[in-house]
Symmetry: C2
Subunit: 309 residues, 2 copies
Amino acid sequence: MFFEGSEKKIEVIIADSNVRLRHLGQPFWAGIVACANAEILSSVSNDYCDAYLLSESSLFVWDDRFVMLTCGTTTLADAVMSFIDHVGEQAIAFASYQRKNEYLSHLQSSSFKEDLTKIRQTVTGNAYRIGHLDSHHHYMFSTKKPFIAPTTDVTNELLMYHINGAAADYLRGVDQSAQGIRDLLELSVLFPDFIIDDFLFEPFGYSINGIKDESYFTIHITPQEKSSYVSFETNLNLADYPVDVYGKLLGILNPGSWDVIGFNSPRNTQGFPEHLCLGSCSLATEQGYTIDFSHYQQLCHEVLIPEYL
Amino acid sequence: MFFEGSEKKIEVIIADSNVRLRHLGQPFWAGIVACANAEILSSVSNDYCDAYLLSESSLFVWDDRFVMLTCGTTTLADAVMSFIDHVGEQAIAFASYQRKNEYLSHLQSSSFKEDLTKIRQTVTGNAYRIGHLDSHHHYMFSTKKPFIAPTTDVTNELLMYHINGAAADYLRGVDQSAQGIRDLLELSVLFPDFIIDDFLFEPFGYSINGIKDESYFTIHITPQEKSSYVSFETNLNLADYPVDVYGKLLGILNPGSWDVIGFNSPRNTQGFPEHLCLGSCSLATEQGYTIDFSHYQQLCHEVLIPEYL
């Protein structure tokens, strides 16, 4: 029943305004997604963005950029290499490749180091790991090009581990429905007026994409009891947002530990349950992103239950 | 410069008093050690025990039992299978195989699950994991045989991660010596009257075995800055011991986090630095061992330093 929820992520921004990524069309993107060993399940669009729900996570395409997240044992580095081969290295203003620590990294088809070797054959860039290898950590590669992101280019990522309580029980249960999960997560309160597209996997697992103008959010739920993982990501500026999204999600899902990764979004623990911040890092990159990584755990002694093998 | 300090461990107790393990001789044990892809560097003996210092950790042999620890990418499950093939499954009263979480598990030649499949082809037993996969955890297999350990059969393991400060600097430095490390760890205070055997690796890394009557202690130091690991293990009953060994070692080495595993040795945090216990588990086995696992972190917010790759 094990499934690796932890995602790899690529973001690419195009330098050449003659290339319009949405014009490349769904068959093109299906090909890129296939390079990662994933497939497109469904999509929604508005005037700015095509949002694809994938068999493993999500792809968002705007005219000048795309963001793709894939979980499981997908090979996302191959997808980004295929994309760069197609448009040419010169057409890229900025590209990043991220990888979160996996529950079972030995089951992955490559390590971050191997991915890095492959990517650096085509593009030069900086790479680093934030966080200790024996705890939550986060790998990132980004291109070294004369690109400066505006401070309004914000991304917020909330990664939740070991969810507990009534919501977790519901998400692992046999009576769940997509509408039931939307209600559970209070998505109509958190994200009113977003066009949404969601999918309930068998026997459980849930993905949702939401778009509104140029904004997106996405949630992926891997509820498996011994290795649960729920990720939330958005380009909304949560500091200005009328609802405390992180506080609400943490309250509902009650994770034992969670990580927050912010790009141009300073650390803010308002609304968090009682916690210890096990470690954090703030890093300013040459490309104008200030990246904040922090790893939290609930402030209570956990009685561990042995897993019999 | 990466080296995997985390150990695998086997312990075997012999049922047949006609088999005297020390009589099997060093060439036999060298063969068993070779099955794990390690080799014997040196040895010391007393009336009860032969203690071998290995290229990767340690082997202690008494007449009725042995304990072997190996780190790096050694294949210790192969060593235990070779031993059981030699003496016969019926000669075994009790056998256990443990494996700590590795820093880089994908570099190991097998997973615990794969080791388990191999071991279970010859011996039946229970196996479990204590601790979450995304944090410190500990795998254990033990045979299911009509053996009951006496409550005096005690083992204490202290596993220290991310050592800091003057001792860590010394252990990573170019001017270290075996005597310097013995003094640093105050071994003559902690373990007076033990026969010791130690080895300083190049460019750094240190192992020591100590024996006194039927008692042993062993310390293995992997000081590498981004993946430091120091393990201490003994069959001394630390609850009755005149010196606070754990408090002393934690004070000197100042690890960011540490695990304690006790067999018939209840959890005791006396002498520990200010900490949070991130999780713990107490488990009584059919063989009469009460196993306590607990994972600690210093009670201070750690500013993480990115590691450039």
